[in-house]
Amino acid sequence: MTAENVLPVGVLLSSLVPALIIFLLPEQRHGTRTALNLFAAVTKLVLTAVIGWGVVHHRRYETRVRFLPGADLVLHADPFSLLFVTLSAVLWLATTIYAVGYLEGSPQRSRFFGFFSLCVASTMGIALAGNLLTFFIFYEMLTLSTYPLVVHRGTPESLHAGDVYLAYTMTGAALLFAGTASLYALAGSVEFVAGGSVGPLVAGHRGALMLIFFALVAGLGVKAALFPLHGWLPLAMVAPAPVSALLHAVAVVKAGAFGITRVVYDVYGVRVAEELGVMRPLAFVAAATVVFGSVMALAQRDLKRRLAYSTVSQVSLIVLGVAIVGTVSTIGGVVHLVHQGLMKITLFFAAGNLAEKLHVTRVDQMRGVGRRMPLTMLAFTIGALGMIGVPPIAGFVTKWYLGIGAIEAGASWAIAILAASTALNAAYFLPLLRDAWFEPAETQGGILAEEATLSLVLPTVFTATLSIAAGALAASGVSPLAWAKLIATREYQP
């Protein structure tokens, strides 16, 4: 047992163990629970930093457990898993602080935080999974641990949303399982390796491999909210704000996008997938989702639903970047995994603050809220402008790389998709900003008199700052962009 063997499990346990302890804690022990949550989040950050340092220096972190004959459970850390782990670890800390403030005084907090930690543990498992089977197990664990969060409020509406969520994700799971099992039957074992491992099978099993690819992508596409599998996402908006934030930025939707990226790059390998001719359809589906999601967002009057459809659109930009074959577009897609997370979590935090403090849930209620909640709305503005792609916020970097990548790969049509996405994003975000800042407001008291409490504002401002930093400091060595470049170069190495 060396540190290299233990650390991946440590990352996983750093939220699994707290989850179990929280379930056992009595409901009233709020202080202990908060302390435990924060301690766990910080521990995870430290472990992540250690692994990150090691991965840069080409150390191999891997934990392997015998599970079934020919199918081990593997946790390993490569640059791509680390990107996702870091994103989740950082945003988990922010969301924990936010959730503590948001749920203050509400019932069933023990259950909430227990499943909350379990959800993050599953995300860690997904990120660190070293083969398709391990990935599948944690992916399903994520489905089950998010359900209690979606229905947390217990209203008929949220129970309905929970039903729909399960119906969609379980169907997805069935497809994913069928794909996984068939691939194991064909290949024996499916480890995640840069460049993929199914290459030798193409000659004999072309049709089967194509079919399996579509089964896997359709299964993962449910969580990634690819059109037409996105129906559950807008409904799941009834969940409390921290859950929406987590769902959209870190856990569920991202797990789908992450999974698709894994399948394309590390199961099939981008060259094999291209040869099979499955990349083009995937790119088209992603492009259609980008436009569709934005148009739907434009039609929404409920703020969180608008943000939800915006997620549908933005996550497909990740898939689009992955599906366009080329190093630069890969960088654009992979880096958007982080950028979209930072910006969208900011938007959801801000929307939560508005609902919590001013009971603003509809877009036509946003008149003058800028003056009343300046910090929250400043963060919201940064997130929204970032989504549009205004430099120097993170979204711009994504758009830039996707655009160049599309040209490099000879897929100039994608430029039109990017332009449409920008224009539509502007069409559904700018009027909100106009109403919020330029309409008169009845302010009461001082400038921050109506601002949300510190534990709600702090994470909001923090993630907004990160969104700017990720864009403005993109050229620095520790930016998400630098990391995405590392991932892309390792993938495209011959």
Partner: protein, 496 residues
């Protein structure tokens, strides 16, 4: 070198505008918001002019573009919000065109130095597309016809000091973009050049004709800007079609931009010099407006004459020189007509209704600074008889026409001209669109009812299966089954 002119004009116009805004907005309710957006726009504008590489330029330019929205809607009136909406839509379209252009141009080398840009554009694999995108993208900012529709709405509706920077400095950022990015002097782009020349002259005359019908001084000034930018577009067009003229184009456009920025800034700020001022102040103001108007009209011994001399120097290098030269003189008539209208409108009403005292000194800088241009070396031909004559006769005709128009003003074309036509057409189409929308909603409802009926049918069927199963699991069914099995057993076993 000639690009320095843009830095000079940007600094002078912004400083004077800030100075007079200080007085103008002393008691305004939301002046904090004004200053935030003013400072952001200024930072963006200066950043764009000073940018060392493409990405810094793009970031600064975007900051300027988006922050200026706050200046346009400052008054918070419905007209301001409408102008803001049109502005931001057009500006965003411009940003998209430019982003596409920059992506095509620099690829991953996002920090391509600005000095190497024209050569890189000339060598780019899709040069023609790239040049088109650049012309359109910056053309929106420069108010090139037909991309100008936002300008006559947005410039007048902003507070006067903001109008001055929008029309004086910011519009020049578009010109600056053209000069910095277009491959002037690197190869021939005949088609693009001809299109620019034609579009430029269309702008010159279109701006003059529509502007002459306006009833508001600031709107007339905005149309004058469109018309004047047309002259710069012509010069750029000549530069694109004949590479040999590139140096002349650079210095002419830079000189022209400097002259126009200061004079137009002076005219806009002049509209708001206070009513309650002393007679002496009013006279100074009238005189200053008159001098600035002379300059824009291109009267002899003004900065405008110097700028037009430089433009003349460009135009003579074109293959269609005599025609273009004639058109330039005709354009000067138009400019003068507009200036007569502006003076009549601004002085008759003694300026804007709601206004506070604003400082005179910065304004006088704007009025007087351009005169430095005519004592500059190289401006000697300004004092030749031929040039004095060629700049006097259009101005004289213009004054005549202008005065005539003031006596009998023509019917007003609504500000935003083409946009009005489009929105009237859109309003006409609205019932049709509404019908289509209703039809599609009906279709969706039909689909929903059908789906519900379908689901209900299936639920009923499943229900029947359920009932069947319930019946099976009840005792009777089990009993019947048991009986059946016993009978079968008996039939099999008993015959033995």
């Amino acid at each position: 070198m000639s690009m320095r002119a843009f830095l000079v004009l940007t600094v002078i116009v912004w400083t004077s505008a800030a100075w007079s805004a200080h007085g103008y907005l002393r008691d305004a309710p939301n002046r904090l918001s004004f200053w935030v957006f003013f400072a952001l726009t200024m930072a963006g504008n200066l950043g764009a002019v000073l940018a060392p590489d493409v990405i810094s330029f793009y970031v600064s330019y975007a900051v300027m573009t988006f922050a200026a929205y706050g200046l346009v809607v400052h008054e918070r009136t419905p007209a301001a919000f409408r102008a803001g909406r049109v502005y931001v839509t057009m500006a965003l379209a411009g940003e998209l065109l430019l982003l596409a252009a920059f992506v095509l141009l620099v690829g991953t080398a996002i920090n391509l130095p600005m000095g190497q840009v024209p050569a890189a554009v000339a060598a780019a694999p899709r040069r023609d597309l790239l040049v088109t995108l650049l012309l359109l993208g910056f053309g929106i900012k420069a108010g090139a016809v037909p991309l100008h529709v936002w300008l006559p709405l947005a410039h007048p509706v902003a507070p006067t000091p903001a109008s001055a920077v929008l029309s004086g400095a910011m519009i020049k950022a578009g010109l600056f973009g053209w000069l910095s990015f277009l491959p002037l002097g690197h190869g021939t782009l005949g088609t693009h050049g001809s299109v620019c020349v034609v579009a430029g002259f269309v702008a010159v005359f279109f701006g003059a004709v529509v502007g002459a019908t306006q009833r508001d001084a600031k709107t007339t000034l905005a149309y004058s800007s469109i018309s004047q930018m047309g002259l710069a577009t012509v010069a750029i067009g000549v530069g694109l079609s004949s590479p040999a003229s590139a140096d002349a184009v650079f210095s002419a456009v830079a000189l022209f931009a400097l002259h126009h920025a200061l004079a137009k800034g002076a005219l806009f700020l002049g509209v708001a010099v206070p009513v309650g001022a002393s007679v002496g102040r009013r006279r100074i103001r009238a005189l200053g407006m008159f001098l600035a108007a002379l300059a824009i009209g291109g009267a002899p011994f003004t900065s405008g004459a110097a700028a037009k001399l430089a433009l003349h120097g460009v135009v003579v290098r074109s293959s269609a020189a005599p025609t273009l030269d004639w058109l330039l003189s005709l354009g000067a008539i138009g400019s003068t007509v507009l200036m007569v209208r502006v003076l009549a409108l601004a002085l008759a009403r003694n300026g804007e209704a709601a206004q506070r005292s604003s400082a005179m000194a910065p304004w006088l800088v704007l009025v007087l600074f351009p005169w430095l241009l005519i004592v500059a070396p190289g401006a000697r031909p300004l004092f030749s008889w031929a040039h004095v004559w060629s700049s006097t006769w259009p101005a004289a005709i213009g004054v005549g026409v202008g005065l005539r128009l003031c006596q009998r003003p023509p019917a007003r074309v609504p500000a935003g001209d083409v946009l009005e036509v489009v929105s009237v057409a859109a309003r006409g189409l609205k019932p049709t669109l509404a019908r289509l929308l209703l039809a599609s909603q009906a279709a969706v409802t039909r689909f929903r009812t059908r789906r519900a009926r379908f689901l209900a049918r299936w639920t009923a069927r499943i229900g029947r299966i359920d009932r069947a199963e319930a019946a099976l699991s009840s005792f009777g069914a089990v009993g019947a089954l048991a009986l059946f099995l016993i009978v079968v057993l008996l039939l099999v076993v008993v015959p033995r």
